[in-house]
Symmetry: C2
Subunit: 403 residues, 2 copies
């Protein structure tokens, strides 16, 4: 396989704005460029198993090595990505197919992760229920539709009659193109959704919130029987999200990750009473319709109540970096496939430290099989680009302590 120097790739990506995605031939030549990749024989030719190694792993099937992708692998740490993010607001980037496709592919071209993930946001489907949002630079998401009581929930659109091709037409266009790109690049296509509680809390608070006090007051009102607004809202969101996951699968996604991004806001009891059953419902909708498509559940900040996540109905549990992988394995049990969980700040370390972290994580998860390597949170802004390559390459190279 021909290896191009990083500088050439960056130039290509930079000039590719709004251009159709590169042809499959070009695409396939733009694989990992780091020293380790050049040295590694495993990466020097296309391995037919790479196409679905991530999907098989998430399904709990035997795999020949630990697959890898990174949350926020398409992100601001890449100069090529910033060419877009500095220029176009988030919704334009994520809802304009040519841009969303390009932004999804950049990192895979550069580092060859085992999956391409659609560039999008967990809030993207909210407008299907009549909830308006924007992502404001320096503030983050801002939601202008008020949902505080039963009447507000009833005013929202019916989750069952959402037509995603009508309300979010760009999703089919993006995923259909990416599915073709993934096939040509011999890799998998990952879709994702936000979990109902997180979307509810975002909506109720209107923006990022330190304590989610309004949301908690609504949960407490539900618990003491003075309102059913929270349960009704979560139920509606769960139905929409389940259907949205199915839609992504129908458009080409081969695996769906469910992001409970605000799990750190929940006490274990609140997780059990509100967030968990709502996520279970969304997952159940996907699994009943598409039993062979694996679902990964990730509760960010929920590592202190992993014991409650054994029965989410998902095929794989993703864990954040605040728990030791060996302890996560112990609490979740030997059978559940686990995704995670390297501390993203490790990517600011040396090549040796990054490679050691990869090996430690794989070994603690029990070696290849039942483990999909990822960070325990998204790639941080400012992460050196080459560090991402070192991580991906070491994961593809390492075969565990026994090898």
């Amino acid at each position: 396989m021909k290896i191009l120097p990083t500088i050439y790739i960056t130039l290509l990506s930079t000039t590719a704005a709004f251009a159709p995605p590169p042809s499959s031939r070009t695409f396939n030549t733009l694989h990992s460029t780091t020293e380790a990749a050049i040295a590694s024989t495993a990466n020097d030719e296309v391995n037919p198993g790479d196409r679905d190694i991530l999907v098989r792993c998430a399904s709990g099937k035997q795999v020949e090595r630990t697959p890898v992708w990174l949350m926020r692998q398409a992100g601001r740490y890449m100069a090529a990505f910033r060419q877009y993010s500095d220029k176009y607001p988030f919704r334009e980037r994520s809802e304009t197919p040519s841009m969303a496709i390009e932004l999804s592919l950049q990192c895979h071209r550069a580092y060859g992760m085992d999956g391409i993930i659609m560039f999008s946001d967990i809030l993207t489907p909210l407008p299907t229920l009549g909830i308006d949002f924007d992502v404001v630079k320096g503030i983050g998401p801002v939601i202008t539709t008020e949902v505080r009581n039963v009447e507000d929930v009833k005013k929202l659109k019916d989750a069952e009659s959402v037509n995603f091709d009508e309300t979010l037409p760009f999703i089919r266009e993006i995923l259909t193109s990416l599915a073709k790109e993934a096939e040509d690049a011999n890799t998998s296509l990952i879709g994702f959704v936000g979990a109902p509680f997180t979307l509810a809390a975002y909506t109720i608070e209107g923006k990022s919130s330190k304590h989610c006090l309004r949301t908690k007051e609504m949960m407490m009102a539900d618990e003491n029987g003075s309102s059913k607004a929270m349960s009704l809202f979560l139920d509606k969101l769960a139905a929409m999200i389940g259907n949205y996951g199915c839609h992504q699968i129908e458009c080409g996604a081969q695996v769906i990750q469910v992001f409970e991004s605000w799990a750190h806001q929940l006490s274990p009891r609140q997780f059990e009473e509100f967030a968990k059953p709502a996520s279970q419902k969304a997952i159940r909708i996907m699994k009943e319709k598409y039993p062979d498509v694996p679902v990964i559940y990730f509760a960010n900040g929920g590592s202190s109540y992993l014991e409650l996540q054994r029965d989410m109905g998902a095929d794989m549990i993703a864990v954040d970096w605040s728990v030791d992988m060996a302890q996560a394995r112990k609490i979740l049990g030997p059978d559940i496939p686990i995704s995670g969980n390297i501390d993203p700040t490790i990517l600011f370390g040396t090549k040796e430290q990054i490679e050691q972290a990869v090996r430690d994580c794989i070994d603690k998860a029990g070696g290849p099989g039942k483990h999909l390597l990822n960070l325990g949170h998204g790639v941080m802004q400012g992460t050196p680009e080459e560090a991402v390559g070192w991580l991906v390459d070491e994961c593809k190279r390492y075969r565990g302590k026994e090898a």
Copy 2:
């Protein structure tokens, strides 16, 4: 016992600025004022066991009921407290004995927790090493002394030769008065210190930080052998903090809580390699000199690696609200006394919900004995004052499922 209406207590507190603390006679009449307290026979007369029930519990001794205090029990949720916090900057309030004493006592007068905690901050002793800080309204603590490398650490003052009576003369004055007040009020006096990693990270970052990237880069430099700045800094801080804890004990504190407030910034590996040995050293210094004074260790945001906290050298482990108390008990084992861990947002619920949360927490911890009730984080601003009373009263009333 005579019960005064809340309004009268508030007036008294409000007019007490800079006045000497109320005499013990006045003090004793200003006890819990809530309905539950009035109804409870247990609170109607002074129980001699109340004087040291918190200390005995933290030491792992048998207690007749679950004792209770609340992190940030002296805080902005109280109108009487805001009379000071709206007017005087933090350092003035915490370093002027008459104010610090008054602010420590207000909550105990109103709600009768099982301990009075000195109104102070974990950063208070930093100037003893030559590290300057201020607490800026709306920003929080700001530290102006740069510590980034070995030279910076070496420029700091020697931890072993700190004379706390010279550098922080107000501490002896505050604690000596509070010790007398606690004795008169038939309750315990709690001292506290920040853990070395948290103080190091605060200093290195200069202020509150989302990712503590500088601190993590310093830890990684230590790990790859390119610098010893972090180890040296932690070691110096551990010595100072250990000695500072001893000083508080010598001034009258009967129990010391160690706050690792930024444990959420640490991966389990970083906790094990940096934060844990430094905290162990600080705790060891206190326990070697004062083996009978219990030490409580609290890693805020560290509930996902409780398995690493069994051997801190502390008498009791405090847990935050992100872990289920039954799971914390399971991971820590049956013998370790545990403090915690009610979700502070529960205090925005109804009286019934608050009382239920108290009973659930006590039952999950295994009933009275080996459990000191607390929140899993500080009392939040905006918390209704009466809610704190409901929590304290229910804890004092409840004797566990078997009773």
